[in-house]
Symmetry: C2
Subunit: 406 residues, 2 copies
């Protein structure tokens, strides 16, 4: 869908767009790893965000929803890793607001223009004193090259920092979107980021920004799964400060479609990075379901395959066990005819209609030993399609999660 | 619910009820392991069954549905392990019917009175010649003590055979139910047995037998999950031959409730054995959700917790990570107030209302190191409850499933 839009990837992450500062430092929440990040636009900016659909919502999610319900004006996002501030009751809410207040005071901006985000263990109180001191230090040392530090500071079990920036033109004016994200367990649709933050110098109306984010999120983070679990803290927020100087983008225009495509590009890129870096993962796995009767059916089938422990362990073992794939589609709840299904790996046909098995074990092994597997499932019943992003399931996932709090 | 009904466990499995024969032998489908079983009532009997809800249904499931739609009269069940005969198209159907015909011919009973069942790898043709020879041999050597051999022959990755028999009275007449089952991966509700077979000498109307099975199945195999995957072959069948001499049981009577309770007892027992023997499992885990607004909500919350890889890895690591439990309830889709939730392990309180953490790490560790964990979740919003049966998720699950076909 981005074929027609020239998009260039550029360095710089969230500080690539004009007018954004960022930074990350070690505030003492975790053991010897950067754990606090701030993203900041000195000039007025607006925000849009999408949040976890989990009924158990962390304090920062509740605070941000309250902030954005009041106004889309937003200039700063404060993020900590190492502690989710979830299931922490009244004290958790006070702590989240204290983070807002500390950032607002130090950056000298209205309290209403700060969002907060947390990720880490559920059910423990924040070491709020350390965090408030950290915010004060960090707010004074933000830079136009701070994206990498911020990306590093929001990591939890991630093994690498995730950032991207793209440049494209809107009505002939160069516009930039930058983004960072972190995974890498408790990741399943609605939402599944776990945390993502984007910046853009595009000028865009608040409602259009929200619409673009919701649209792009639907085909990226909402089609990403590592383990089927959904976090209490998931959020994806985007700040737009208008410094690119383009005419303000409104819904339904060509400029809007271009902006949305670019944002999709950015979020799908991050979704793939998160899948590839899923806890214990050794492979990025894309599940393409096509020939479906509707996009919803394609999405449901792809999501069920992507969440199947049996499919994911088979792929880990480079075992072309296509029966598990067709069984997963069978329990997905969609209406289809198993005898019409065709399956392939990386373009290599495995199964044709009427259960004709064309599997060449040696060739399949070669494909499945690669670190990027595209599972192709043709339902042969329509023209709709969907792609889900996931990873293999390994012993390291068990190892990481059997002792996460220790 | 069985408190008021005296039920005694007795030895003998499916050959404990009067008038049943069974056996198991090595027919050459698998490598050096019994792989073919027959259950047989020389006198006329009836059958009831429940089947997988997976849209991809194996040939034997399709055959059995056709058989039972025609008549409930049934005297024999033939089961093979090592090959699921699923996704095998027309040839798979022919093979399944050939198994029916071979058993009918050798046992000298009508073709319509034979059910078949298969379990194992999906998408490979049965070695039908070996199976037909095996059926002929086995049909001639069935015994009244053959339950253990049959239980062994239906095992796939199970590490132990699963059987039980119970005796109780119906209107003063002793009645027996026996059963065998196999797990132990690709197990999730609707149904989740993977295969179960029961026999009873009770006299019972066909409709009442089906109703009792459906009722008992709902609180046992449909609340059992190992990995969230649902098989193409799942079935649970029960044969009743009336040899106990009781007055024929009909729906809605006290005798019917007694019979249903006893069948529930049997199926829950087997569900626990299957969970305990889940692939790679080291612990039986029961998820009790109570204080729910409806049984459906309790079941949904319990099922979501039971399917959470994060909860199951934490329990494997004896890590009292209750945040993952409350997060799982949060994504289950039920309406509840997280701040009212209380959580305990084996009766040891961990979390009280308003996120009051009463977790004693040392005591929790003692409980979580046991091989039977009961996770108690009180939603404090009503009086409904449900129990799900599952196991921990371990590196051995990955090991077993990364190379299942090899």
């Amino acid at each position: 869908m981005n074929d027609s839009l020239p998009i260039s990837e550029i360095p710089g992450g969230i500080t690539a767009p004009v007018g954004f500062l960022a930074g990350g430092l070690y505030a003492g929440i975790r053991k010897a790893k950067k754990d606090l990040a701030i993203i900041y636009s000195p000039t007025p900016a607006i925000a849009a965000a999408v949040f976890t659909t989990n009924k158990t919502q962390a304090a920062p999610v509740l605070v941000d929803k309250e902030q954005l319900a009041r106004s889309s004006a937003c200039r700063a996002i404060v993020v900590n890793s190492g502690n989710a501030n979830a299931c922490t009751g009244d004290r958790g809410m006070q702590d989240a607001w204290a983070m807002v207040d500390a950032a607002a005071a130090t950056l000298n901006i209205p309290r209403s223009e700060v969002l907060v985000s947390s990720t880490g263990v559920i059910g423990q109180y924040l070491p709020i004193d350390k965090i408030l001191v950290g915010i004060t230090h960090l707010a004074g040392s933000l830079t136009t090259t701070g994206s990498a530090d911020a990306a590093e500071a929001i990591m939890t079990t991630d093994t690498f920092a995730k950032e991207i920036a793209v440049r494209f033109t809107v009505d002939g004016i160069p516009v930039t979107i930058g983004a960072i994200a972190k995974g890498s367990g408790m990741i399943a649709p609605n939402m599944a980021t776990m945390l993502g933050f984007a910046t853009t110098d595009a000028a865009i109306e608040p409602a259009a920004l929200q619409q673009a984010l919701t649209t792009a999120n639907r085909v990226s983070f909402n089609r990403l799964t590592v383990d089927g679990d959904t976090s209490t803290n998931d959020m994806m927020a985007v700040l737009a400060n208008g410094k690119a100087g383009n005419a303000v983008i409104t819904s339904g225009t060509n400029a809007f479609r271009q902006f949305t495509s670019a944002l999709e590009y950015v979020l799908i890129h991050l979704a793939k990075l998160i899948a590839r870096d899923g806890e214990g993962a050794t492979k990025l796995v894309e599940i393409h379901v096509f020939g479906a009767s509707s996009e919803e059916a394609a999405e449901r089938a792809a999501g069920t395959i992507a969440n199947s422990n049996l499919v994911k362990t088979a792929i880990h073992g480079a075992d072309a066990n296509w029966g598990r794939i067709i069984a997963a589609v069978g329990r997905s709840g969609i209406d289809f005819d198993p005898a019409l299904v065709e399956i392939g790996f990386n373009g290599l046909p495995i199964l044709r209609r009427k259960y004709e098995i064309v599997l060449d074990e040696d060739k399949a092994k070669v494909e499945l030993l690669k670190d990027h597997i595209v599972v192709q499932v043709n339902l042969n019943q329509g023209t709709a399609q969907a792609i889900f992003y996931t990873c293999d399931l390994t012993k390291d996932y068990i190892h990481i999660n059997a002792s996460y709090r220790s």
